[in-house]
Amino acid sequence: MSCVISLTDIRRVFIMGDQQFEALKGVSFDISAGEFVAIMGASGSGKSTCMNVLGCLDRPTSGRYLLDGLDVGGIGANELADIRNKKLGFVFQGFNLLARTPAVENVELPLIYAGLGSRERRKQALIAMEQVGLAGKENNHPSQLSGGQQQRVAIARALVNNPAVILADEPTGNLDSSTSEEIMNLFTTLNRQGITIIMVTHEHDVAAYAGRQITFRDGRIISDSLTTATV
């Protein structure tokens, strides 16, 4: 399978006044298309920092990042925004939906920035909502949805642009165990349809849904292994 993501010796140094902190100390890994990867590790080990780099929200201090064969290092802010819009989908721990905005319009949001017309947007948003099992909840505002449903809206929003990769930072962190299971089943289904998923989690049973686990400690990868679940 082809490589969607290739990190080579990624470092990220935070500078606070005269203090420096190296959150990523040379991280390298490749992820092929269609993989479902769980990133594990203790709090503060650099997982989110790594996800931000992967999500083109942050630039590494050094190292090379190839996304879909494109070197992301040298490109400008507007192109980065385009990449986030077209190649990546984000799912956050806190859902991060727009309040007082109907679910379907939340899902449409990436398509707005992609420049699609309103009719086409609505069509694709409805398809994405059906994919995550939320048909019929299109006009509910986030406050009128359960936590699990809100996360499904967020996943639909991540899906709607047909991204190469979905990045999820602790997507089940705010959910109870049965709802977490639903979300993980949804991820598994999407992954079977060919979408690459990279997910940060603290929970082993959540990580078990993934086919590969990468473990961080103090800004370094200490293990990278396939799990039995893939077989």
Binding site: N96, R100, L109, Y113
Partner: protein, 408 residues
């Protein structure tokens, strides 16, 4: 992102906080309303003054009996009979910068037609008077030199007098009695409207000067006029004409170091031009004061937009994470600010126009709302939005997506 979408997002943001949006707009609403109303009152006033100037006739110098002190106060009796028909004629012929000069006398009395009567001003004047005042007849004929020379008992009626004595009937050819003396109505004068002093200029009857001197006014000597009205050949020649008149009359009246001048010249257009200018300056001043409230309103907008950016930091982060560019965010917040001010501007224009109409209806002040002032007010309100919305929008667009997403 297309503009319609940006507009929709901005409208939604404004709608979510209706009360706040309204209060924010209030500054702009009041400012624009004040600007519109002040400009309407100011330009109404200067319009009326300029109309009045036109109604008097242009380039006019008035010569009246009595002298003035340097302070402009008239000394001596206003009724002094120092000016004569000969003075008027001499000014007309001997002053090179003068186009026309007409002697006038003034009386008041009853005019009777059949069983109708009306009290009015009766003016005696030579035919030049109507050239000077640019006042044509609309029906019948004007007073001629023959009427003047023969002291014929004919008269021209002002519109108000004609209406009150004859209603809709045509008065030309009828006989009216002025101070019990029968006069033939030969014509009706065009409508003039109010004088700068607020008098109805159409409430007057005109007769030849000599007719008036013989029949309608009493004086110690024959040929006395109560004022001479003069038209200079052009605007540039007014001052020259004025000094020519003074020289001529000084000579004719044998004014010297021991004898005070027994006449005064007044440049009417000049007085009115000053009045017009002060009206204009007034409206400008009012406009300037009102625009201060616009600036205050603009600062209010900026303040609220800054609060809004802070409040919606997370929203900005989300939008950036899913593909919004800096410019999209900048445009979104600018649109919001400009929408606020333009909406406020429109409401303000409506309120200001309404207020101006109310002022003219209930206080009787003349007001004039020009398309120009509406356009300026509208563009200005948009400009306030752009100017005061830019900094908050720039701040929003400059946010780091990670920090914005993490913002609580």
């Amino acid at each position: 992102m297309d503009f319609i979408q940006t507009l929709k997002i901005a409208l939604r943001a404004l709608r979510t906080n209706k009360m706040r949006s309204f209060l924010t707009m209030l500054g702009i609403i009041i400012g624009i309303a004040a600007v519109i109303a002040m400009m309407a009152v100011g330009s109404g006033a200067s319009y009326v003054i300029s109309q009045q100037i036109a109604s008097i006739g242009s380039n006019i110098i008035l010569v009246i009996p009595g002298s003035t002190t340097s302070g402009g106060l008239r000394t001596g009796s206003g009724g002094a009979q120092t000016l004569s028909s000969d003075d008027a004629r001499s000014i007309g012929t001997d002053c090179p910068s003068v186009a026309y000069a007409a002697g006038t006398v003034r009386a008041s009395g009853q005019i009777i037609s059949g069983n109708m009567n009306w009290s009015s001003v009766i003016m005696g004047g030579t035919p030049e008077l109507f050239e000077i005042r640019e006042w044509p007849v609309v029906s019948g004929r004007a007073i001629t030199q023959q009427d003047e020379d023969g002291a014929i008992k004919v008269c021209l009626l002002g519109q108000t007098v004609a209406e009150n004595l004859f209603g809709s009937a045509d008065p030309v050819g009828s006989i009216v009695r002025i101070k019990k003396i029968p006069f033939t109505v030969i014509g009706i004068l065009e409508r003039k409207g109010q004088s700068p002093q607020g008098q109805d200029q159409d409430d007057a009857v005109f007769v030849p000067l000599r007719t008036a001197q013989r029949n309608l006014v009493r004086s110690q000597r024959t040929g006395i006029v109560s004022a001479i009205i003069v038209k200079a050949k052009s605007e540039e020649l007014i001052d020259k004409a004025e000094s020519e008149i003074q020289m001529l009359l000084n000579q004719r009246h044998r004014i010297n170091a021991t004898k005070e001048p027994d006449f005064t010249t007044r440049n009417l257009s000049e007085i009115l031009a000053v009045a017009e200018q002060s009206a204009k300056a007034m409206s400008l001043l009012l406009g300037a004061v009102a625009s201060i409230s616009l600036i205050v309103g603009g600062i209010g907008i900026m303040n609220i937009m800054l609060v809004s950016v802070t409040e919606r930091t997370r929203e900005i982060g989300i939008r950036m994470a899913i593909g919004a560019k800096k410019n999209d965010i900048l445009l979104q917040f600018m649109t919001e600010a400009v929408l606020l001010t333009m909406l406020g501007g429109l409401i303000g224009i409506a309120l200001g126009a309404g207020g101006a109409t109310g002022v003219s209806r209930f206080l009787g002040w003349p007001t004039m709302i020009s398309i120009q002032s509406i356009t300026i007010a509208f563009l200005f309100s948009a400009a306030v939005g752009i100017f005061f919305g830019f900094y908050p929008a720039k701040k929003a667009a400059g946010l780091n997506p990670i920090d914005a997403l993490r913002y609580e």
